[in-house]
């Protein structure tokens, strides 16, 4: 039995917010949360959820006879989790049916295959792990962003152990050959290639609702007739398209869901075709010939080349400046930097900078948040400029190596050591002072007191007592007190000198004790 192979691409980019020059080095939130969530919710409601239901119903009806495959980009998965978790659940139900294959791609839906094998393979592994965790199946088929392919990319994919890859059945590559066979990479024959039948795919994806098309309206009868017209020896019809075709590019009102609901029944009743997944075909079909693709192809536009993403100055500058960071970013230990690095690589950012379709209303313009490619470029570069600053700051230490860190650490220790010593000394001093003050104050200590303190003391004590206490006292103490006595007090002091002989030592000690008590009252804390 011959096969129809459906592969649907599910992808949403993280669109950038309006990021101004003034934000550079100030703000590091790059993405338009509102718009991203709004678009995700809208597309989920119009396309993902209803179409998933159609597929689940078909699988329910036909069992293992009906099969499809999906590739879901990492940025789409992240946004499902953030904004529309119910979509992920419904994909999980599809996975549980066992009739759905999930393909492998770059996590960020990036163009990394064109510039860095390391980054490319890193992202592929990251995506593969994510898919396995979510859907319980490790992807065995690879599809690159926008079906971008050439001989070298094929080799890089073969190096990772993949046995099958999907790409475009570009006319200028195939020549007279048909896309409806299994081909292989020219250098690595173990990597099989399935090529998109772009005529039949685009009949559904682009022309379905085009009323100017001579074959409009497209019915399952017509479509199955066309499939039957293919040569009997041809083995597979590859129908590859964006999943948003259903309900978003082609609105529900066009009848696209009804068409898909009816298609399998018509195929089973009116043709010798069945449905297969890419992995199923890889196991079943032999390659008919290797295919040489020296120049990179994609599934975009008439040209089927890279000019939608790269080639003009805006795109090349942005792309070049972004990937100039690839070695540095690997060293960054900041998870937000790692995340932003992925999201900034998404091919859509470069697509918005394309100057090819200035005039015609393209299907992609529908999703383009910018008015002109120049706006897109300026905004992206503002974001990238900030990102470069962050990466530079994060990797500064790494650049200068261990000795630098050690030097910095030593210096830090020295500085802290000094500071600790200083504080310690200060505390000791304070402590001693406090302890000193808790002790009683001796009479002799008067000599060290300030004049203010002495005056304060004299106010509290009778002149007679002072005079008595000073008898036989140290000169220094006497000299401290006398200048602080008032005129009358001084007079009294002088008058009393003659009477002092009568006072004995014990009495003197008594007066001094009294003064000491007073001192303690006054000055002790």
């Amino acid at each position: 039995m011959r096969s129809i192979c459906f592969y649907f691409q599910v992808h949403q980019p993280y669109r950038l917010r309006n990021y101004r020059f003034f934000d550079i080095a100030e703000k590091h939130d790059y993405f338009d949360d509102y718009n991203n969530s709004f678009i995700m919710r809208k597309v989920a409601a119009k396309s993902y959820l209803p179409m998933n239901k159609v597929l689940l119903d078909l699988i329910g009806e036909y069992g293992s006879a009906f099969k499809v495959s999906f590739s879901i980009s990492g940025t789409a998965i992240d946004q499902f989790e953030q904004y529309a978790p119910e979509v992920l659940d419904s994909f999980k139900r599809l996975a549980d049916s066992g009739n759905v294959e999930f393909l492998s791609e770059t996590y960020a839906h990036s163009l990394s295959a064109l510039t860095s094998k390391t980054e490319f393979q890193r992202q592929v592994r990251m995506h593969s792990d994510r898919i396995e965790m979510l859907f319980g199946q490790k992807p065995v088929t690879f599809r690159n962003t926008e079906l971008i392919y050439d001989d070298n990319i094929g080799e890089a994919v073969a190096d990772m152990g993949y046995k099958l890859m999907l790409t475009e059945g570009a006319k200028h590559v195939l020549g007279w050959r048909s896309p409806n066979y299994m081909y292989a990479n020219a250098a690595r024959p173990e990597l099989k290639l399935l090529l998109k039948n772009f005529r039949l795919s685009d009949d559904i994806a682009f022309r379905f609702s085009q009323q100017t098309w001579s074959d409009w309206p497209l019915t399952t009868e017509k479509f199955v007739d066309w499939i039957n017209q293919s040569d009997e020896k041809e083995e597979v019809i590859n129908l590859f398209m964006d999943y948003e075709t259903f309900g978003e590019h082609q609105w529900e009102e066009t009848g696209i869901f009804d068409f898909m609901r009816a298609l399998p029944g018509r195929v089973f009743s009116h043709s010798d075709f069945g449905f297969a997944t890419p992995a199923g075909l890889a196991a079943k079909l032999q390659t008919v010939s290797p295919i040489h693709v020296p120049n990179t192809i994609s599934w975009a536009d008439e040209e089927r080349d890279l000019t939608a993403w790269l080639g003009n100055d805006l795109q090349d500058e942005a792309f070049g400046k972004l990937y100039a960071l690839k070695e540095k970013v690997v060293e960054c230990d900041d998870t937000q930097i790692q995340k932003d690095w992925l999201y900034l690589q998404t091919s859509d950012h470069f697509y918005y900078m394309c100057t090819k379709w200035f005039s015609d209303g393209d299907v992609h313009k529908y999703f383009n948040p910018y008015g002109t490619p120049y706006d897109a470029f300026v905004n992206y570069m503002n974001v990238l400029s900030d990102f470069i600053i962050r990466v530079d700051e994060n990797t500064k230490l790494g650049e200068n190596g261990f000795s630098e860190v050690k030097g910095a650490a030593t210096e830090l220790f020295d500085k802290t050591g000094l500071a600790v010593n200083k504080t310690l000394k200060k505390t000791n001093k304070k402590l001693r002072k406090t302890i000193g003050k808790t002790k009683d104050i001796k009479f002799e200590e008067i000599k060290d007191m300030s004049n203010t303190a002495v005056k304060k003391l004299l106010k509290e004590i009778d002149v007679e007592e002072i005079t008595a206490a000073l008898k036989g006292a140290e000169n220094e103490v006497v000299e401290k007190i006398l200048p602080n006595l008032g005129i009358r007090a001084k007079k009294k002091y002088d008058e009393m000198q003659s009477e002092l002989k009568k006072i004995n030592k014990k009495e003197i000690a008594g007066y001094r004790k009294k003064i000491e008590d007073k001192l303690s009252d006054l000055f002790r804390k």
């Binding site: 003034f22 550079i24 300026v378 600053i389």
Partner: protein
């Protein structure tokens, strides 16, 4: 006085200059009637409207505000005249609006102009209509002298002169040669020349403009007088943003991105500097018909990570960009005066200006270069970025210099001119 815009809705430096001049004149006891064309959207009902002081909102201190409005009577005329648009452009804009029935907004303008279709299809008809109203105002309102700003108002000035027989002073803020770089629109040129020929005195904003007026328009040198522009001394509330964490020096271009302003020379100078010094960022603020070409050039030179575009800046963002800048550059190919460098200097930013600007005649503390001399421009920028002594000196003395450029002084000269011809 015939103008075409007045604060607070200013679209270019002409409005600022007119406002400064009228304020200056009011201090010298000159009474004024200021007439501007303006689209309201309800032109059918009223063609002429006298605007009361209470309807205008200004950021002025009360005292000054009152004093100003005792001297100035302000009148708006329903019209579609758009500043800074040549006849072809006007036609294009008009047609586009005809098709889409949408409002015309442009980044260059801070105000929306509505096209109701009530008026003539081309700009010249609008100008003629403005002139007609001008003559009727001149017949009704008592005055001693007529003062018209730039070519769109000249027919109005001439008509007013015919109606009242009073002397006419025309004010050349820019010539068609400055605006187009030689690819002169004949109609506009003729209108400028007729205005100046009919005038009793021609005021030019710089000697540079005076020379063009004499040489290219054949106006009698005896009646052409230069009165340099000044700068508003009221310090708008100072927004001293803390300098961002951006470590590099910031070099700024601010102005319309058109041929006249020489943006491409700024980019080439930036490229030269960035080849040697990675510690600089360049900013091009503004919008205009050459913006996309400039973005492409920057991308082509692969310097877009250090060269940024902000689009048109409004309000506080202008002060913010000055607060962020270390050097301001005005590489104009032909600039009758050029007031923006003065605003930069007032914000403590040292400036590099082209010798082909009128403002170069009044400034000492600015580095002056030929607009085409990209090497010299790069040198000057690099010097101001890296030699602190130089930039410190320019900041300090530049500010003083600007503070001495008062509208009051300019207005005094204008009043003297009035007195000569009355």
């Amino acid at each position: 006085m015939f103008g075409w815009e007045f604060p607070p809705h200013i679209t270019g430096s002409l409005g600022t200059a007119c406002f400064g001049l009228t304020k200056g004149l009011s201090k010298h006891d000159v009474d004024m009637l200021f007439v501007v064309p303006k689209a309201y959207g309800d032109e059918d009902q009223q063609a002429v409207r006298i605007v009361n002081a209470s309807e205008k909102t200004f950021d002025l201190k009360d005292e000054e505000y009152k004093e100003f409005w005792t001297r100035v009577k302000y009148m708006e005329i329903g019209s579609n005249i758009i500043p800074y648009v040549d006849p072809q452009e006007f036609r294009k804009v008009y047609d586009e609006n005809e098709k889409t029935a949408e409002q015309y907004t442009s980044n260059v303008f801070s105000k929306q102009y509505e096209f109701s279709g009530t008026y003539g299809l081309n700009l010249m008809e609008e100008v003629a209509r403005y002139a007609l109203i001008g003559s009727s105002i001149a017949a009704k309102e008592p005055h001693d002298i007529i003062h018209a700003h730039d070519w769109l108002c000249y027919p109005a000035g001439i008509a007013a002169k015919k109606a009242s027989g009073k002397p006419l002073v025309v004010h050349m803020h820019a010539t068609e040669f400055d605006r187009t770089g030689g690819d002169v629109n004949r109609i506009v040129y003729d209108m400028e020349r007729e205005g100046m020929q009919a005038a009793d005195r021609v005021i030019t904003v710089s000697n540079l403009t005076r020379k063009i007026v004499i040489e290219k328009y054949g106006i009698d040198p005896g009646k052409v007088v230069t009165v340099h522009n000044a700068v508003d001394q009221e310090v708008s509330k100072e927004i001293m943003r803390i300098k961002t964490k951006m470590k590099e020096k910031v070099v700024t271009f601010l102005g319309r991105i058109t041929f006249q302003k020489g943006p491409e020379y700024f980019i080439e100078a930036a490229y030269k500097i960035l080849q040697k010094d990675k510690n600089v960022r360049f900013v091009m603020a503004g919008s205009g018909d050459m913006l996309n070409k400039m973005i492409e050039r920057v991308a082509h030179l692969r310097i877009a990570d250090k060269f940024h575009f902000t689009g048109f800046l409004k309000g506080d963002d202008v002060s913010n960009i000055f607060a962020l800048s270390d050097v301001f550059v005005m590489p104009s190919v032909s600039e009758p005066f050029g007031i923006v460098p003065l605003e930069a200097m007032r914000s403590n930013v040292p400036v590099v200006i082209s010798k082909q600007s009128g403002v170069a005649e009044v400034l000492n503390h600015a580095l002056k270069i030929d607009f085409w001399d990209v090497d010299a421009m790069a040198d000057s920028i690099h010097g101001l970025c890296n030699y602190n002594g130089l930039s410190r000196m320019f900041k300090k003395y530049g500010k003083i210099e600007v503070e001495n450029l008062k509208w009051e002084n300019a207005a005094k000269k204008v009043k003297e001119i009035y007195l000569e011809v009355i």
